[in-house]
Amino acid sequence: MLGTKNHVNYYEVLEVAYDAPQHEVHKAYTRAKATYAQDNPALYSMFTRDEARDLLKLIEEAYSVLGNHGLRRNYDDTLQKSSPARAALSSVPRQAAPSAGFVQDTHDALPDFMVPDPSIPGSFDESEPIPTYSRPIEVNTLIEPPRSNSTDPAPATAAGKRESILVTNSDFTVRKLESDIPLMPPDTGKCPLGTYKIDAAIEAEIAARTEFDGPFLQRVRVYKQVSLEKLSVASRIGKTYLIALESNDFKNLPAPVFLRGFLVQMGRQLGIDEQKVVTSYMSLAKASEKYASKYGS
């Protein structure tokens, strides 16, 4: 990864969800260690021995942090701070982007929202003191200099047309190909969950908007052609919560700490300003009597 600013994310290294309970982290670690062990046939032709060794190091490092409750919490805080942009940069957004805000306290949690509520004293395991770091926690850059075994030059084809090598492997080479398939229409908009046809008026309205209430969020979602199901899968927010959220049904929404996470997710997945969504929706919720009386603030 030389030369790129890309950072490794420990959750991605261990391939666990951001809210995975501790025993899953441990299981993932055990499995990852076995996977990248030197003699595993599953590596063959994909990773060299050196690469596997470096991956193993990274796996150990990731587990040394995520495997420890306190270290993990601190790491989550760091992630959260360096957050919004990174979600968009992570390799392929199939795995739902993390909602750092929502995640931070749910690790040992069981099903989604049956989690300890931070507003209830004693509902967290306080027994483990949060350690201070001797070195700053930094997400490190992926190791390993480039491999130098593929040296094929771009061949000149018979027709004299320039063909460039797309990717070369030890066993085959893929060259770039001309294609007559048309480009995407210019008025195609894009949000993390898909594409839609741009409507300038609505775009302007969204950009100008400062108050995001449920119905407006729903409008944005529908405009961007994102189904509830899709949003639910990507954001890991249950559909019933999404429905409550979109209909300003405050009494059925979770405690503020989780609601905030939901809103971050929602904003992110719909490609709108998370901060505005969180601020305006939270103040709406808190102004609601039912919500305020339920969560007592």
């Binding site: 990864m1 030389l2 030369g3 790129t4 600013k5 890309n6 391939e15 666990v16 969800a17 995975a20 899953e24 993932a28 499995r31 990852a32 076995a34 996977t35 595993n40 046939p41 599953a42 590596l43 063959y44 032709s45 994909m46 990773f47 690469e51 991956l55 968009a88 940069l89 390799s91 392929v92 957004p93 199939r94 795995q95 390993e144 200099p145 480039p146 491999r147 130098s148 460039s164 090598i165 797309l166 990717v167 492997n169 066993d171 085959f172 893929v174 770039k176 190909l177 001309e178 294609s179 398939i181 048309p182 480009l183 995407m184 894009k190 993390p192 898909g194 594409t195 899968v233």
Partner: protein, 325 residues
């Protein structure tokens, strides 16, 4: 839907194109290496679907060496895809035959006169479009060995892309080669669709300096240099998810291989895949083949059939797999 209860295994379906408008869901079974059980797997999954009450059409796309009918215990069919390709049959349903298994229809592959390499681009497109119009909700494609462009395109056309692999190193290697080939084909199609050839080209020109060693690195690099293009590219390849199926396992270690391969795929390609399950190595497989009776029918209560049923359920509902880690 075809009438499934007909005793004649090769009764032709006279109906025209599907009118329901719901395109069929396509599952393809590929994997590169020959003789690892692709035909056995695709036929068994198709029968399982049929036994679960779903209508399904099994298509032999191992053009040139089609032998799926043998796995089903059928005689050599009279109408094959050759008739469709040559235009003798107007609609694909005309070469589809009901079988003795209720709910299961079968489309036979080419006869020996034709080869998959002979299928030109137009005919391939026509065939792929036609597969979607098949009237059963599920269509299972049995692909041939190798990584020919046509095989890759059938694979990429599928909604569920099943990679069959056995624990032997040669099979694993070929499975990866098959994945790489189809991934790059997908990438090439995506890049020209998005008009971002130059981005990929530029990145690959200096891939050593940039430390690009895998597709995951490449896509990450593009996302960093041009987030917009990166996002669109990600979007395009997001549906390139594969379902790993391990066949002929004998040990616990073999079973773990599926998890390992899933992780390797994630780290190498940067994409999620699912490990949908494994099938034991069992002599009953060739015994049933020799009897020309599908194993799922012959030994319905065997553990292999249980494994196939589990796999079929996973394939029907892949998101539940991904939810639990």
């Amino acid at each position: 839907m075809n009438d499934n209860n007909t005793p004649n295994p090769f009764k032709l379906n006279p109906k025209g194109p599907a009118k329901s408008g719901m395109p069929a869901t396509i599952w393809a079974v590929g994997g590169g290496k020959g003789g690892i059980g692709k035909s056995f797997i695709s036929s068994s999954i198709a029968i399982c679907l049929a036994r679960m009450g779903k209508s399904v059409t099994l298509v032999d796309l191992d053009l040139g060496s089609a032998n799926l009918h043998t796995c089903l215990g059928l005689k050599i069919p009279q109408q094959t895809l050759s008739d469709f390709i040559s235009g003798r049959a107007q609609h694909i349903s005309q070469v589809s035959a009901a079988t003795e298994i209720p709910g299961l229809n079968f489309i036979s592959g080419f006869n020996d006169a034709l080869n998959i390499a002979d299928l030109d681009r137009d005919n391939k497109q026509r065939l792929i479009r036609a597969l979607r119009t098949i009237q059963t909700p599920y269509v299972i494609l049995d692909l041939g060995a190798g990584t020919s462009e046509n095989t890759l395109d059938f694979f990429l056309a599928a909604d569920q892309k099943i990679i069959a692999v056995t624990p032997e190193p040669t099979s694993i290697e070929n499975a990866y080669r098959f994945m790489k080939s189809s991934f790059y084909r997908k990438l090439r199609l995506a890049e020209s669709e998005l008009g971002i050839q130059n981005l990929i080209e530029t990145a690959m020109d200096s891939k050593n300096q940039l430390g690009i060693k895998s597709p995951a690195d490449l896509i990450r690099h593009i996302s960093e240099t041009n987030p917009q293009a990166g996002a669109r590219l990600n979007d395009k390849i997001a549906d390139f998810n594969m379902q790993l199926l391990l066949n002929q396992v004998r040990t616990r270690q073999d079973i773990e291989l599926g998890h390992s391969m899933k992780s390797v795929c994630k780290k190498y390609f940067g994409i999620e895949s699912d490990y949908v399950g494994y099938i034991d190595h069992d002599n009953a497989v060739w015994q049933s083949l020799r009897k020309r009776r599908p194993l799922v029918i012959e030994y319905p209560y065997s553990s292999i059939v249980g494994q196939f049923l589990g796999i079929t359920k996973n394939l029907l509902n892949p998101t539940t797999l991904r939810a639990v880690i």
